[in-house]
Symmetry: C2
Subunit: 335 residues, 2 copies
Amino acid sequence: MIKRIGNRTLEFTNQPTVRAYASVAGKKESEGPLGGLFDKIITDSYDGLDTYEDAESQLQTEAMALALKKGKLKKSDIDFVFAGDLLNQCVGSSFGLKDYNIPYLGQYGACSTMAQNIIAASVFVESGAAENAGCSTSSHFCSAERQYRYPLEYGAIRTPTAQWTVTGAGCCIIGNGECKVKISRATVGKIIDLGITDANNMGAAMAPAAAETIAAFFKDTDSSPSDFDCIFTGDLGEVGSNSLYELLQREGIDIKNNHRDCGLMIFERRFQDVHAGGSGCGCCASVLCSKILNDLEHGKLKNILFIATGALLSATTAGQSKTIPSIAHLVNLQS
Amino acid sequence: MIKRIGNRTLEFTNQPTVRAYASVAGKKESEGPLGGLFDKIITDSYDGLDTYEDAESQLQTEAMALALKKGKLKKSDIDFVFAGDLLNQCVGSSFGLKDYNIPYLGQYGACSTMAQNIIAASVFVESGAAENAGCSTSSHFCSAERQYRYPLEYGAIRTPTAQWTVTGAGCCIIGNGECKVKISRATVGKIIDLGITDANNMGAAMAPAAAETIAAFFKDTDSSPSDFDCIFTGDLGEVGSNSLYELLQREGIDIKNNHRDCGLMIFERRFQDVHAGGSGCGCCASVLCSKILNDLEHGKLKNILFIATGALLSATTAGQSKTIPSIAHLVNLQS
């Protein structure tokens, strides 16, 4: 059963476990600091297929195949898959996972999708609805640029606050087997909208959502940043991370000393031209399903927070000069 | 706790209840057979706002407000809201619900979203994660036409198999209070893709998914169509309903005598020019949150199946001549 603690944090009394995980990433990501940790690298943006969208779908197909293999699981062992992505109507997920024949629950949380998947999967496992549930998401630089900004052929100039969409996917399997990494608590985000309208500065739009969720978790659980080895955010990048510090400081919370942002971990910005850092559903998903879960599995990390943030806009709302509502979901992982 | 019965059907042992529900619909829908049952009608496609997208968001804002009011609930009574829609990046839901300040889990199931919401909400309630959870979705004829087909100003001709996107929203609150209508069982759909590529014939694309889920439910629960007062499908329309009968007949299942499709219920096709019937997330959501839940609440129906179907394509995949993967989720409601 699940206990509600404080105002809205969930505590998993049986603690679902991460039975397996895998990541797939693109060439640029392979050249970053985590390059050696991804399970598979695709060097061709098309991944041998006809379109960038096909390539993105295949990232999810492959991440799921690798996770199943690494976990010695069959696809029939997985009761549900929770998945979503940034492509319109989440076609990266539906096309990428359709041949697995697993009951499918499409999620939409923009770049917060991986944390949302894990929360939903953990609730399903804890409730008895699932024995094992898959969590999958992806992003692809080329399909995202085409859909959200400009076709690459235009050679459009990017602003300094812009982030670079990660080509990558992550998949993890949540279950109740005996495994080292456990999901102990989670806080579901609220939609936060402070009126930011600059679609080239997602970090600033998403930071208030991250701050709200993190503050809620600390309050609900009566804990503080020093209780955790590390607080990982999804893809705030440099601008968003700085906003986050400032917003949390106003609440008397200082996370600077043990915070890392997946968008800043995946690229080496001194050498890689990614402006404010990496972004996209695949950013924190591929970092979680490589570096973070590796370190938890091997005891380098014992107790962490994983907060994935998402900007809930569309190209239509951006064109209509709407604000950017954002959200952040938090998962507490322990080993 | 939740029991898994048969291969993949979920049985809710505590049976979450429908604590409240409300529907909002457009002018054309108000002129159909269910017109008198909707809680609110909007007669202006813009609903007094600047864009069709704003109007669609407001449908969800209003449906949620009405459901809370009818259920004598405050927004702070709702622990989570599950919502999604057909607009790119589900902005109908995120903009429509952002001011409620309720932890938000965005769902994407295309027109199957309402059933998916109810399943997720029921699992959250049954597990103890939520006391009350909201389920919300919408569609709007004008925003859907612009995004998926042509701007209305073009006056494009529609094919006879095309369906008419319903302008409407439905919201229901799932909880564990003492209420008449209970959620007893549910079957989550798999992604089914039989290779149909005609984006103007969604009924045909979605029927195989409905058939697969319905057959799985009957097998898992050892039940048959005659055990239920009515089997409601989401928005298969005329073409899809006929395909469904044929596909199920091959499995020895005959649902013809007690089947109704929300896409055929919401419009009177003899007088209303909607071709093969209504469609959109708001179609079955508004029919469920008016006629169906009314009839369950007042004892006219005792035991029904609600199967919402979704086509998991995008305008991009349609333009790339891809097939249309589809899905159908089933909920068994009893009173």
